[in-house]
Symmetry: C2
Subunit: 414 residues, 2 copies
């Protein structure tokens, strides 16, 4: 017997037939003897409809009222799934954020979960009842519904899993797991059977949008094992020891650590270079302080050691959409920063090589540079961390670079 | 300054533009210096959509889950109206059943309100805030959402009005008030400016479906003055001393009591007659006990004094849809009841003359019988109460009878 959380997104519960399919997945786990909590999103399209109404009502809408309106979508799905489970002979009960309670802070529209009391759910498990929980919602200190922001149902699922001390949190989605890279670019991409939290965080923020980043962070902190799998597999035909999916877990649990696990990329990066910046203490703060205040999201930052200790060059990237704002901010702070030339280039792509094993293997970075060079890809900037090498290149070379790196690290499907 | 409850039904909040119109009605009352609570239904069609999904999920759905699903419709409207009021500069906050709290019994799907704590709402009134309340819902002793049954928003409005001791409860609807009879049958029907609770109860249950019967009962018990008016009037142009609508209030408040206030009717009644029933104590119980157990709703009951004290005839009506079931029940109980012949006729119509003043005026009934006789309408059965005379006739004569009675009591518009 295990205790598991199963999470289903909007496309998996888009209509009554699809919810029936979800119910069969749940029934399978119950019949295997597990204690089950299910977290559901709103039926696909419903949240957008509700958000559209709130915006039509007023572009400057109150976040508390927005939350009350938008959270109704998950409320409907939870009730429908409970009804269908009951009709299949599975004892089930729906739970809203204020009923459990899933307590949040007061940041309506993008609230964070502060506390979940799992006792009530565990009591119901002990009488054999499945808990069907409306995702994306909690209740704030003001006793009003608070939503967690788009994609928040993943976070709900992980938080519930932590609260009830679940053995596993299964994220059912419309893909069958996490791949070594984007299969739309490289058809030879292979499904990863295991990936560490740290690697997944790098992948999620880099474009492999299987899971909300915040939910992976929360899973890492609480050591909740996540299992990403497809909700469109035949629910009954699943052999629990032999089916597709990716387990996201702590590094310790991964026995055979891959040097390189996957290749990720982010499009629409803009490169900004400050030439001949006076190399004095506090210069980085003078550059990035005003940018942060203007809500510009800075990504890669590269600063070279200056030749003579007086001036240096500084390069960093921002999203294309923030470029104009960033340039204006920098021009305004020019005197304080003290640079001579401000250069920028939009339309860059950041390609990243990710792997928890690379720290202990020499030459991983060199392999990447050599491969890109052989394919004629010009490298604009490089940053590295313990588990990641990121390389900024021209957008035209994106697919070529991803395929070259995927191949050179032996990730191609046979 | 007055404290008022304003209730808007589904057609009045069918889309964002209509909700905006509702907001203007609310704003007018706020600007007149009143303390305002608004009770809203779901957007027209939404409840049916939600009910449809619940049925599709399972025909035997759990009432608790049904309530959680269906109540989401009012939740959305309340949030949208609060947002629009705020955008018009009116301080407003939405309230769900579990937030106020509107406590109900455990009869999910058709719950009754047991208690409302008005303190929180009154506190908000004192800081100038409008309360926008989701109608049709409360919270049961099991801490789950409970709905009041179709049309329950009227009941919500009256219950809130009683809890906050409101001066008036305005029911905005798609008609402009209560008429002397159905204007579709008699175009000369006139709008009543006042009608007593008792008269309204008789009219509501007889077909003039402006208000849910239960809400009128509750208003009568708590002496909440109801004002039925149209939500489609220009919100800004309303002169508060001169506009259409019907006040439903206690008899005491009505200075000029009409002998006859209106003519109501109910279609699809079936007449059942038991011939030569042995006239002994307990025979009525023997007839109506089994019918009640079978959930057959018996309406008119007529029993004559028997000629020689040994046998009598007994006539009563049931809805056409219950006729077959009723006949089966009676045949089964034939020996115990002891009747000789069982006769029945479907497709009857009950026409009723209603007026609180008729008790003190002789000849009101005679006038009705004479008028029907002159128009060649055959009377099958008659029952009377303090404020009502009901006459059972063939369906073919329904319109003729309604018009004849409307005219003979001087109710026709000039």
């Amino acid at each position: 017997m295990a205790r598991i959380v199963m999470k289903f997104g909007g496309t998996s519960v888009a209509d009554i037939d699809k919810i029936r399919n979800v119910a069969l997945h749940v029934k399978r786990e119950v019949e295997a003897g597990h204690q089950v909590a299910v977290v559901v999103s709103a039926m696909a399209g419903k949240t957008s409809e509700l958000v559209g109404w709130a915006r039509e009502a007023s572009s400057m809408h109150d976040a508390r009222e927005y939350d009350s309106i938008v959270s109704s979508g998950e409320q409907v799905t939870a009730g429908l799934l409970a009804i269908i489970l009951q009709s299949l002979g599975v004892d089930a009960r729906s739970w809203l954020g204020w009923q459990i309670q899933i307590k949040t802070d007061n940041a309506h529209g993008a609230a964070r979960i502060t506390e979940i009391d799992g006792e009530q759910l565990i009591e119901r498990f002990n009488i054999g009842q499945v808990a069907v929980i409306a995702g994306f919602q909690g209740v704030g200190p003001d006793n009003r519904i608070a939503t967690l922001g788009r994609g928040g149902s993943d976070t709900s699922a992980v938080a519930v899993a932590a609260a009830i001390n679940a053995d596993r949190c299964d994220i059912y989605t419309d893909v069958d797991g996490v791949y070594t890279t984007d299969p739309r670019i490289e058809p030879k991409a292979t499904l990863l059977s295991q990936v560490s939290f740290e690697e997944m965080l790098e992948m999620a923020s880099l474009g492999a949008k299987v899971l909300q980043v915040r939910s992976v962070e929360m899973a890492m902190v609480n050591n909740v094992r996540l299992f990403v799998r497809s909700s469109f597999e035949e629910p009954g035909a699943v052999d629990q020891n032999n089916f597709n999916g990716t387990l996201i877990c702590s590094e310790d649990e991964i026995l055979e650590k891959q040097v390189v696990t996957g290749i990720a990329y982010t499009r629409d990066e803009a490169q900004i270079s400050l030439r001949r910046v006076s190399d004095k203490p506090g210069v980085a703060a003078a550059v990035f302080g005003p940018l942060a205040e203007a809500n510009v999201n800075v990504d890669m930052i590269v600063q070279n050691v200056s030749e003579d200790g007086s001036v240096t060059d500084m390069t960093f990237t921002v999203p294309d959409g923030d470029l104009e704002k960033a340039l204006a901010v920098l021009e305004q702070a020019k005197r304080e920063i003290g640079f001579e030339v401000l250069q920028s280039d939009p339309g860059m792509v950041k390609v990243s090589v990710i792997g928890v094993g690379m720290g202990s293997h020499a030459g991983v970075a060199a392999t990447a540079f050599k491969s890109l060079s052989e394919h004629g890809v010009n490298i604009r900037a490089i940053t590295t961390s313990e588990i990641k090498i990121s390389i900024l290149i021209d957008a035209a070379y994106a697919e070529l670079a991803v395929r070259a790196l995927h191949s050179v690290y032996g990730l191609d499907k046979e």
